[in-house]
């Protein structure tokens, strides 16, 4: 009943909005801003604080987790710390810049973002591409010494593209055709990321962001519940096939085997997972104390990167882990508040995209580290070592802050 009312209420509005031309939009906004010039605008200090906390915490943990191996490999305990700090500083500058640009400015680049993403990914296969950790996922920017992961660009590009697309489609999103269009657009990028860079986790994240944005944009629930059930059923079937010994899933299969029982293959597929579990288990409730991790002494691969959460657990215990999880929940809550109070659908969708990105990535990372899902390389947002990841995350936070700035305090 209620939903019916709500639809009746919103429908005329969306229809009208979608019909209008873009030029009218600018005029309308100028009028709005003038009207509210005297009133106070919102700046989300809580969100900024949480992000800065996570970044600072991440730096401490990166130093703790990497200093031993950094000294071993580069003769400098702060090697990874310095690189990460540089990326964070650049990222913070970019964040401030983006936060101060009205977010509607980016509306014009939605197609460009999509095309750039689609073109950038194949570059990893050209001589510009850089292989590391056994996969070609990075491209080097000539003459800067900086590496860029096209998948990170694609995540940001997809958020912008879908936010604009949702607004453009308006009411038609409720039809089956509209839904199909929304799902069809991200697929080329997802497949590119998966097949060209063999980066399953980034593909899953991009797909997840897309589904989440479509979910929010469409008033329907049934389709999504059905989709969720279908995904769960397929996952269950795959696990069943692997357990029953079908050799159809040779590569991913052994990964799933190692997930179900990491101790069955402690030296190969189960190695990283098991080493992570050793770290979490030996940390216990109170942890060994900052800097006291044993697993970071070359035992746990990627200890400053994908597996940093297990080092946090080892050194700071269950309480360190709670602190991190609470910070992420708080971050998502702030973004929810901003999205719900965003002055328009475009702003809301942007924030939802960023929220989905950070939420999915953090959940998947912790799930991998605790061996709740099969191992796949996903970094922990803001905390894991990784320059391009943190830079793009900060740009996304900049977008969110920009949306937040448009919220009138009266409206909250």
């Amino acid at each position: 009943m209620k939903r019916g009312v709500e639809q009746e209420y919103t429908e005329p509005g969306t229809e009208k909005q979608a019909g209008r031309h873009r030029k009218g939009m600018a005029a309308h906004r100028t009028a709005r801003r003038k009207k509210k010039e005297q009133s106070e605008y919102f700046f989300d200090y809580s969100l900024l604080f949480v992000v800065l906390f996570l970044l600072g915490f991440g730096l401490v943990m990166i130093y703790s987790a990497s200093s031993y191996t950094a000294f071993d490999s580069f003769g400098d305990t702060a090697y990874f710390l310095k690189k990460q700090l540089t990326a964070i500083i650049i990222g913070l500058v970019l964040m401030i810049v983006v936060a101060n640009i009205p977010y509607h400015f980016w509306e014009h680049f939605y197609l460009l973002g999509y095309i750039v993403s689609a073109l950038m990914i194949p570059l990893v296969l050209t001589p510009l591409g850089i292989a590391s950790h056994g996969a070609r996922r990075w491209i080097g920017i000539p003459n800067t010494g900086l590496n860029l992961q096209p998948a990170e660009v694609a995540k940001l590009g997809m958020i912008l593209f879908l936010a604009v697309l949702v607004c453009k489609m308006g009411k038609s999103i409720r039809t089956m055709k509209g839904f199909a269009v929304m799902v069809a657009f991200p697929m080329p990028i997802v497949l590119e990321v998966y097949f060209l860079t063999s980066n399953l986790s980034s593909a899953i994240i991009i797909l997840g962001i897309s589904v989440l944005m479509v979910f929010v944009a469409s008033p329907d629930y049934k389709k999504f519940v059905a989709m969720g059930l279908a995904v769960a059923a397929v996952a269950g079937l795959v696990v069943y096939l692997v357990v029953s010994g079908s050799d159809f899933f040779a590569f991913r299969g052994s990964r799933i085997q190692a997930w179900l029982d990491p101790e069955s293959d402690p030296l190969d597929k189960g190695f990283q997972t098991l080493q992570g579990l050793y770290a979490i288990g030996s940390g216990g409730i109170w942890g060994k104390g900052l800097g006291q991790s044993m697993q970071k002494l070359n035992f746990l691969p990627e200890s400053q990167n994908d597996m940093i959460f297990s080092i946090i657990c080892e050194e700071l215990g269950l309480f360190g882990a709670i602190a991190i999880i609470l910070m992420f929940i708080m971050l998502l809550w702030r973004m929810m508040v901003i999205a719900n109070n965003a002055p328009d659908l475009f702003g809301a969708m942007l924030v939802v995209g960023v929220m989905g990105h950070i939420g999915i990535q953090a959940i998947l990372n912790i799930a991998v580290v605790t061996n709740t899902i099969p191992n796949t390389g996903i970094s922990l947002p803001f905390i894991s070592y990784g320059g391009s990841s943190v830079m793009f995350l900060l740009i996304e936070i900049g977008l969110v802050l920009s949306v937040a700035k448009r919220i009138q305090l009266k409206e909250i």
Binding site: E6, Q17, R29, S282, M294, A321, F328, D344, L345, A348
Partner: protein, 594 residues
């Protein structure tokens, strides 16, 4: 226009997204609680074993003490020198120093030093002084660990009985093997925390689990008797140019072995040293076979045809079965025909008519064959088994050989006749000694043994070993009769060279021809005990392949005589004809019957 359509259902959906995410975080948190609380012990134990490298500390092996507490096997401190690849700073210097100090070839040391491993042992059993010198260089990556090396103060004394140990503190032969579990102790451990490459984490310190020293083993061997018996055996070996001489001395009442000599013995402190004159360039297998031959304990590991000493068993069986009395008369024409075979007596002219005592004194073959035939194949075989000759004695030394005997169904009269005077089958010397003991001690088959007690470092007895005794092998009456006969054998018969002035000694000689017959190789032996009326000590001497005179009465009996002349007073055995001796004897017999 994109603005103003952020409607209610969007808000609800965003709320749903948030709560789903928060819910997933809570689930993951639950998973973390499970891992950190319920699985913490499991994973931290696994992690600790991953992080710790252990070095074991040898436990001090228990000593072996003779019956009077004299140390027969001890430990001395030696060093083990190892290198740790990842910690070595100056490789060339390490190689140079280790070559010089350990007197090893550069090639050997270089191989060890340059091998990429967590820890590589360069040399063990290094003298403590050398180890201390190497430690003083303070070379990074060179570890000198102290441990213990087995040390035998009397070198070759009782080598084949005591045995020796290997580099890992484990017994290789002899008592060291049998009592390994008591002697070895529990090794300790030094646990050091290392990173994934095996480099020690200095701040983590180390955990030590102290080793527990092994228990001392007190054995029944008497150093003085063993030494004297060794001297006698060595003397006989030299004068008779024999292949080997064995002497075993035992208390026939309880089976405690007082001495066990097998000359030539070997140096327990250098058990792998080959004798002089060994050809060069033997293969590893040939060397090992040679060493196994050198380490062999003839009293336990080898069987032989006992010959006339076995007549003691035939006589006891006959007396027990009532097939013969002391008054029974036997006639010996110098041979006896059994079925189609003519078996000669050692005295070709024959012993003529004689009573049973004299038949034994003469060691007359036809008389004993007659007795054997009277018992019959089954009767004789039953006694053979009842005396325990088909079983092993259960002596606490490794590798006891079993008896080689005809099967009951394969026995004919000829076989029976030859077995009756100790031929055509083989037993070990310890088996003969044990069986004769049980015949003369009142019919109790005792278990020969060395081990008496396990004693801790403070001298507290932690375990006293007990051994099975089988009663009623023969009656006390048969036993007393046998003692009388065997005393006569020594006082007036073939064993008179075993006579000891002032003591009543019983015994029996034997001269067995080794297989193949006609090779001119003999084994001369004598088994003797004293005092005859209440035996306190029994000894067997076996001279293998003596040159010149080869009769047991002339070669082996004097050895036991000389031994008894010295050890009987030493053991406080009462002299002959002493009234007290008789009383004691009766007392002893009464005890035996009880």
């Amino acid at each position: 226009m994109l603005a103003d359509n952020n409607k209610l259902f969007h808000r609800k959906k965003i709320l749903v997204v948030f709560f789903v995410c928060a819910g997933l975080f809570v689930l993951l948190f639950g998973r973390l609680v499970y891992l950190c609380v319920w699985r913490a012990e499991h994973y931290s134990a696994l992690a600790t074993s991953l992080h710790e490298r252990e070095r074991s500390i040898k436990a001090a092996r228990g000593r072996i003490l003779d019956r009077n507490g004299v140390v027969l096997a001890d430990n001395k401190t030696v060093c083990t020198v190892s290198v740790i690849y990842s910690q070595i700073e100056n490789r060339e210097q390490v190689i140079e120093v280790l070559c010089r100090e350990l007197e090893l070839s550069e090639e050997y040391v270089r191989k060890r030093v340059e091998k990429y491993s967590a820890m590589e042992r360069v040399k063990s059993n290094v003298d403590k002084s050398v180890g201390d010198r190497i430690r003083e260089y303070g070379l990074a990556g060179v570890k000198v660990d102290e441990d213990y090396k087995r040390y035998y103060p009397y070198d070759s004394l009782a080598s084949k009985a005591l045995g020796f140990t290997g580099g890992d503190n484990q017994g290789i032969i002899g008592l060291e093997v049998i009592y390994d579990t008591y002697l070895e102790g529990t090794p300790g451990q030094i646990l050091t925390v290392t990173d994934a490459k095996g480099i020690e984490v200095e701040s983590a310190g180390e955990r030590r689990m102290e080793p527990v020293a092994g228990l001392d083993l007190r054995i029944s061997m008497d150093l003085n008797i063993q030494s004297y018996a060794t001297q006698l055996a060595a003397q006989a070996l030299a004068t008779k140019e024999a292949d080997s001489v064995s002497i075993v001395v035992m208390n026939p009442q309880n089976g405690e072995l007082l001495a066990m000599v097998n000359v030539p013995e070997f140096d327990l402190n250098n058990p792998y040293e080959l004798p002089e004159g060994t050809p060069e360039g033997l293969s590893a297998e040939e060397t090992q076979n040679l060493l196994n031959g050198i380490w062999r304990n003839g009293c336990i590991n080898d069987t032989y045809e006992p010959g006339s000493t076995f007549k003691v068993i035939t006589a006891a069986a006959g007396l027990e079965a009532g097939a013969v009395t002391l008054q029974s008369s036997f006639s010996c024409p110098g041979f006896i025909v059994v079925d189609d075979r003519k078996i000669r007596c050692h005295k070709i002219a024959g012993h003529g008519t004689q009573d049973f005592t004299h038949a034994m004194m003469n060691s007359c073959n036809p008389a004993l064959i007659t007795l054997g035939l009277r018992l019959g194949i089954d009767g004789y075989y039953d006694y053979f088994e009842r005396f325990g000759l088909k079983k092993k004695t259960g002596v606490d030394l490794p590798g006891e050989a079993g008896t080689i005997m005809h099967r009951r169904e394969d026995m004919g009269n000829v076989e029976l006749a030859t077995v009756a005077f100790g031929q055509s089958f083989q037993i070990t010397p310890i088996q003969l000694l044990t069986t004769v003991s049980s015949i003369i001690n009142g019919g109790r088959r005792i278990t020969p043994h060395f081990g008496l007690q396990a004693v801790d470092r403070e001298g507290n007895v932690t375990e006293t070993f007990t051994y099975p005794v089988e009663e009623g092998i023969v009656s006390e009456q048969t036993s007393a009769t046998m003692r009388g006969i065997l005393e006569m054998v020594v006082s007036e018969g073939s064993g008179k060279n075993g006579k000891v002035e002032g003591f009543r000694v019983g015994g029996k000689t034997a001269t067995s021809q080794t297989l193949p017959r006609g090779s001119g190789r003999y084994i001369a032996s004598f088994i003797g005990f004293a005092p005859a009326e209440d035996p306190q000590v029994i000894a067997i001497a076996i001279v293998n392949n003596p040159q010149g005179v080869y009769y047991g009465g002339q070669v082996a009996a004097p050895i036991v005589r000389q031994l008894f002349e010295n050890i009987l007073p030493y053991l406080g055995v009462d002299g002959a004809g002493d009234v007290h001796g008789d009383e004691n004897a009766q007392g002893g017999q009464a005890d035996g019957q009880n």
